[in-house]
Subunit: 202 residues, 2 copies
DNA sequence: TTGACTTTGTTAGCGGTACTAACATATGTG
DNA sequence: CACATATGTTAGTACCGCTAACAAAGTCAA
């Protein structure tokens, strides 16, 4: 019975490299990784990755993309946990966003800080669009309006910004250690109430 | 008449290196710079910077710090352009924030994306605190309450998050090219009105 | 089965980068 | 002027991204 007999061909190198890089990013920061180090942890030579990726940036894209998919699933799950119209649904959606940022701060920073900046990756922007679509849909259902309604769009965007802004500021300790006294839960409810007054019935 | 006769001593290397790095960051992205390249543009050897900075990170700190100071001044100037209580004052403050993010996207990303992450720089967090203090003060004056009032704190924080979130999302083109239809001006007024209702008089 | 083709590894090496050590030159102060 | 200090240089180390040339393993049809 060969458990992990050293094979010449790794068998699953591409995915393992992505996972190794992900771990390195979480433990040493968005820039605290190298192809060489990921290779070491995967037990292959430093040239091996180039059979699967064009360059460093392409590896990073894959890592970010996997993060976006995880985040999208978390948001979807959070929204599904409450019925349409329940104000807590919006709050839960925001919480899932923030929770992801807190549990995977390195990837989160890369996803939205654009690390290398000016990344021209259609797949990434497409994934981002998909996540905004979730917010749009939840807001539309909450307000009982069409997803195309400008008011829905504006409020969904405002919610996104408020949640995203808090996520970012909370990460660096900007929110904890300065003079901010409002709790996260209170903040989320304040924001939800501000942009989605429950009196909306027309 | 010696204009720029090659002197052995540069005379102002420290500041010029910071400026060179700043330019490189704006033209090639937050990670698109190297000490070597900055040295080339300053006309010195690659070892020269180490007489002024401990390492790469310390150079970056200085660059980020200078950006924070510029941003703080811009915010202060924007707030000073309107009298206390004028709702446009809040909007102008938010605009100045966004304008800075747009005019210096590279530095902005580093300031809040924490690029290298986990930067333990008291001077940086202190500068950040100072900028939040501006918002607190403006909101307190607007609401006619003390700066210590929890309601002031919560609203100031919400405004900060909303503006910061928009700045970040707007930079990567996430806000322009997706289905977001609300204009920036409308967004700012919506946010301002949501958190600072003009009916506040008690 | 076998033998060609493809895939996925390897080693060796190039050029670029951060940083250090040892040395050289300018500046300022008694 | 003499000497200490500040600020530059050259030379060298170690690491990294990436490529080229080669080797082993998997695939598939005759």
């Amino acid at each position: 019975m060969i458990e992990k007999k050293k094979k010449y061909h790794h068998g699953d190198l591409k995915e393992q490299l992505v996972e190794s890089v992900r771990q390195l990013i979480e433990s040493h920061g968005p820039d605290g990784w190298s192809i060489a180090e990921a290779c070491r942890s995967a037990g292959v030579s430093t040239a091996a990755p180039y059979k699967h990726f064009k360059d460093r940036e392409e590896i990073l894209h894959e890592v970010i993309l996997s993060g976006m998919r995880r985040m999208g699933e978390a948001m979807q799950a959070a929204a599904d946990a409450y019925p349409a119209g329940d104000p807590e649904r919006i709050v839960a959606l925001g919480k899932s966003y923030i929770d992801f940022a807190r549990s995977e701060p390195g990837i989160f920073a890369l996803m939205f800080g654009m690390a290398g900046s000016r990344i021209e990756a259609p797949k990434l922007t497409e994934e981002g669009r998909g996540k905004f679509a979730i917010v749009i849909r939840v807001v539309a259902e909450h307000m009982g309006r069409s997803q195309d309604d400008p008011a829905v769009n504006a409020r969904a965007y405002a919610l996104w910004c408020a949640v995203h802004g808090h996520s970012f500021l909370a990460l660096d300790g900007k929110a904890d250690k300065t003079e901010i006294t409002v709790s996260e839960d209170d903040y989320l409810h304040l924001v939800g109430a501000a942009f989605l007054p429950p009196t909306k019935t027309d």
